[in-house]
Symmetry: C2
Subunit: 415 residues, 2 copies
């Protein structure tokens, strides 16, 4: 089954684009296949969709429950007691709701870390997006917990694989919450299975200070000593880095995922975007969860990422729109091994169609600048993932039901 995007604006030219078997097969095809489904794309431009490299999709049920609090009281008083009540069904629903918001805001992939990873894979499969669902290892240095975590990891690894869009992965929660034994185990098993690995590191100044006291080195150095760093390890946050950390991350080709909104909301610190770019680090973008953001819009994340780079460096030329847009698209896709993130023949057919009559995109001197600095979700009309339409005219199939169910579930968590 093929899909023909008719009269679409692509790099400021009007053309047709043919999608076949989940890939862009031809830009400006001479002929149009008889069986192609045709989408009228007049006054719409095609752009790559977004790849969200750090999320906890199951937390959508906690949006707005607790804000403007210090990290540890937020976790201890409000989040953890409620997380203890989450059932697999609830996580499945909360993840579908997160995916709905991702689709509405143009995202087709999320690197997720939460409980009940099978539910997350199932939700992504049902909604038609891509995911890597990473099982989070977290033992709090308790040897009994290390054991049960290892059992959980093995159980997850032994589960049957899902479709080509939805893959399993592993996560090291953080150096302050996972024992050396468990870190080494997770690293070894990810490598053996060919999984992507992800982790939180150097998110707060305190984390770095504590690690220096305990291990005599930074979290990045410690993770490197345990073999955790490489091109298949996505390091989330990476706010507080030494020059040596930066050189190490660049040399080992470790993709970094910055989550500016979350880092601001929890007052964690400013990502050194310009410095990291100059050092040759691979930079990607993520939203973190709805509980610390409070939405999953990569549009908002791009804008703050650009703005934050300028204020952090004191240089208005830092964090230019094109670089930031690439972080949210092609850099993210490549970091997780997807042959996507760009509208070109042969690439995976992940894209969005934006409405060129939407006020936020007018004037249209520079569409990428408009996407980074001006657009909101109202600009995104259509979302396509793997050649399949997930949203058209702002509507996602089944959205009313998801919304009705999540509203009911939120009543349960209200108090």
């Amino acid at each position: 089954m093929s899909l023909l995007l008719k009269n679409v604006s692509h790099q400021n030219k009007i053309t047709d684009i043919l999608i076949d078997n989940g890939r862009f097969s031809k830009i400006s095809p001479q002929q149009q296949p008889l069986d192609a489904e045709i989408i009228d794309c007049r006054n719409k431009a095609i752009l790559p969709a977004f790849y969200n490299l750090h999320s906890h999709a199951g937390m959508s049920i906690f949006r707005g429950l607790s804000d403007d609090k210090e990290l540890f009281s937020w976790l201890n008083q409000d989040i953890w007691p409620r997380e203890a009540k989450l059932t697999p069904d609830m996580i499945h629903l909360a993840t579908k709701f997160s995916i709905l918001e991702m689709i509405k805001t143009g995202t087709v992939f999320f690197l997720d870390m939460y409980f009940e990873q099978q539910e997350i894979l199932k939700a992504a499969q049902e909604m038609g997006v891509r995911t890597i669902s990473a099982l989070t290892g977290l033992d709090l240095f308790d040897p009994n917990k290390t054991k049960t975590e290892i059992e959980k990891i093995e159980k997850y690894i032994s589960c049957p694989d899902h479709d080509e869009r939805c893959a399993k992965g592993l996560m090291i929660h953080a150096v302050y919450s996972v024992s050396e034994e468990l870190i080494r185990y997770i690293v070894k098993r990810s490598q053996e299975e060919g999984y992507y690995l992800t982790l939180h590191a150097s998110e707060t100044a305190k984390e770095v200070e504590d690690c220096l006291k305990t291990h005599g080195c930074t979290p990045i150095e410690y993770l490197d000593q345990l073999g955790a760093l490489g091109p298949k390890t996505i390091v989330a946050h990476a706010v507080h880095l030494s020059d040596e950390d930066i050189a190490l991350l660049a040399r080992k080709k470790v993709p970094l995922c910055t989550n500016p909104v979350s880092n601001y909301k929890l007052a964690s610190g400013l990502f050194m975007l310009q410095k990291l770019q100059k050092s040759g680090c691979i930079l990607t973008l993520g939203t973190d969860s709805m509980a610390s953001n409070n939405n999953l819009s990569m549009l908002e994340e791009m804008k703050l990422c650009a703005l934050s780079a300028k204020i952090q460096s004191g240089d208005a030329t830092a964090g230019n729109a094109e670089d930031i847009f690439n972080m949210a698209t092609i850099n993210g896709a490549q970091a997780v091994g997807l042959d996507a993130g760009i509208i070109a023949e042969g690439k995976l057919a992940d894209c969005i169609l934006v409405d060129l009559n939407n006020h936020f995109l007018i004037p249209n001197y520079n569409l990428i600048s408009n996407m980074v600095y001006s657009a909101d979700s109202s600009c995104i009309d259509t979302v396509i993932c793997n050649g399949r339409i997930l949203m058209q005219s702002h509507h996602v199939n089944g959205e009313e039901e998801i919304i009705s169910e999540i509203k009911k579930l939120s009543d349960y968590f209200r108090n």
Copy 2:
């Protein structure tokens, strides 16, 4: 003519609200007037609309034309040469387009400063919003220009007044661009006419340094010496303030308008929100222009204002959602003398209706938190100003024509 908002969610209760003669006349009326126009507000919540205390609406034609540049090269190379080509008709259209975006994002008032103030008043009147259109005094210390600026001011003052929603005002561009003579003149004439006065001050570190060199005091102290500070003077930016500046601004009850997105985009600096709150300063919010933002969404401005307060103070409890929402609503309204900014009997009927089925507003544990941290324009269904509906079901009368004309005009400025 009265308007009845039927079954609207107000402070978590479902009620009816009656609007008469531009004001909220009754919350939960016993009877409904026979001639009232009825709006079905099921699944919608009423909230105050936004008051944008700093804009240059005529600059909408420059959105996305030039980004990621240092302030002075941005002005000299890209903006000023094009501004020289603007005609009154163009400014009229560009302002209508800005107002369209304000309405789409829930704003009903803007304190504006640009050229051709009469066109701005006319545009606001046609679109149904409120404005104070301030004539900007800017003589660059050239005595000939001082004279022509004074003539312009007198001409503007002598123009007939517009309707009750649209008022004239004056502006001092900045201490680095306006002579002492002209500043004193503008202050005197504003006071005589009972106008609101506005100005840019302490936007960049350089401005403060230069002022210390030239005048031996800070811009705030210098403006105070010239009699410019008081409760009818809105100081925009106010980023780089000394402790003495802050005490002075609090004592004189000077409303400050922070423009976080613009301050970030131009790398100007971080507004000291928490410190200013503690000092008792009056705080309001503005977007600045589309050329340095690049949109006029007070939703985005609120979010960055809250996030920036946290990162600036290193305290995640700073900039809490309710305070920030008040800055964008009641504080802004009160700062410009409007009996509005809150949904209460007797107040001016300015409000928005938000869609409680929009995913960004779900779960709805805390609507104000959702508005500050999660919502985008897709949440705003209806906008009412002075009891008149400006937008319903996301549609503004005449929007297609404005968009079609502004697209044409942008072709003229493309090169």
